[in-house]
Symmetry: C2
Subunit: 254 residues, 2 copies
Amino acid sequence: MKHIESDSNATLKQWKKLHTKKEREKTGTFLLEGPHLIEEAISSGAKLQHVIIEENFTMEDEWLKEKFTLWSVPTRLMKQLSETEKPQGIMAVCEMMEEPEERIEKNGRYLLIDGVQDPGNLGTIIRTADSAGLDGVFLGEGTADLYNGKTVRSTQGSLFHLPIIKADLREIIAECKTLDIPVISTSLQGAVDMRKLPYMNGFALIMGNEGSGVQAEFQEESSLNVKIPIFGQAESLNVSVATGILLYELQRNR
Amino acid sequence: MKHIESDSNATLKQWKKLHTKKEREKTGTFLLEGPHLIEEAISSGAKLQHVIIEENFTMEDEWLKEKFTLWSVPTRLMKQLSETEKPQGIMAVCEMMEEPEERIEKNGRYLLIDGVQDPGNLGTIIRTADSAGLDGVFLGEGTADLYNGKTVRSTQGSLFHLPIIKADLREIIAECKTLDIPVISTSLQGAVDMRKLPYMNGFALIMGNEGSGVQAEFQEESSLNVKIPIFGQAESLNVSVATGILLYELQRNR
């Protein structure tokens, strides 16, 4: 096990730079916090470059030592590296996942995200897409960064369970159409009540920005526009909640 | 319009104390931020004791001046009073809502919250309960504070649309049983797939803590335990998302 004691250690400084999107994209790596996320990464075959442990952190077993280069740091430095109020004693530098060669497959179930800006919402949506058994999530322009610490934590590990791909949604919509996968937008105007949707083997559901919803261009290109009925006085639902309701309604007869 | 310029103004100091739960409960008041929430409060008949406006904030019309004592403050003081990174130029001190005399009515639809801790989750759940047209939400012991700034903002105004009542959930469950309202817990063991639920006119759905779920005591007292199917590899859903899925499934034939 290697040890870092100094605030000015070059390796530590390099890790701290991973708090910025620019550095994450330059290096193709991002930070993971806590034993749960690190276990999910390992069991999903993600590559960990470094595992960093707080001096007083006790691991339940020795499995980590056998597999990875471990670093120990004092509590003071762990607090600098962590982005949470209560660091969990263990962090890792993880390589970004590779994208699959075939992005869209016949009868696949996909979620297309058009500009969801809040990292917490994005992470929760990915966790929901995993629960709903989807085959992939596509992140369009203007969407929060997948590797932002808050996004990663909100996924609760689901980012390792299914392909999450940055993409031009125009291309994805076109690919879906070629494979006869219905493209469904959420919309308030001219939209069908979700409870009247027919059962679909595959689908591509587009969810939009928290304030402005799905872009008009994508709504026009969709096979159908759908809405969730509002029985009370709320103007709308939170985008993560709306995603969950729609994904489970679409798969009610699965 | 009154004006405050000094950091040590006693009225300003009093308002800032409302950042703490203790002071909110002592005074029976809480802070609102932003034009949307303030409009929702007014249109719902909530009582505003003070409306506070940033010097450079322009109101679209004169309606506020006619109704309320207005205070203007410099940007510096608004930042002290606000709990957000980007204050919206207007805040208010609002009185807590009165509770209805009859908490439970025959064939009513209710949500019982057993220890949801995150204020953002609680606010989103209240917004979802409003969208789903429920008749009331009961907050059990260990649940986040309704009047925490983050909770209030996450409700997007829905806290003014339906009764939200702090209560001993044991009493609420007993009242529901007396009125033949089925009490439904979420559970992973011995639970029915939500898609097999019969249609119910009224119901009381219990949602539990983010980590530990609904207390065993409440699960045992429930008419039935229900679960959301997980089609992928996620261990569970976010509690706000799960609430949305269940409330819309329960009301599918509404």
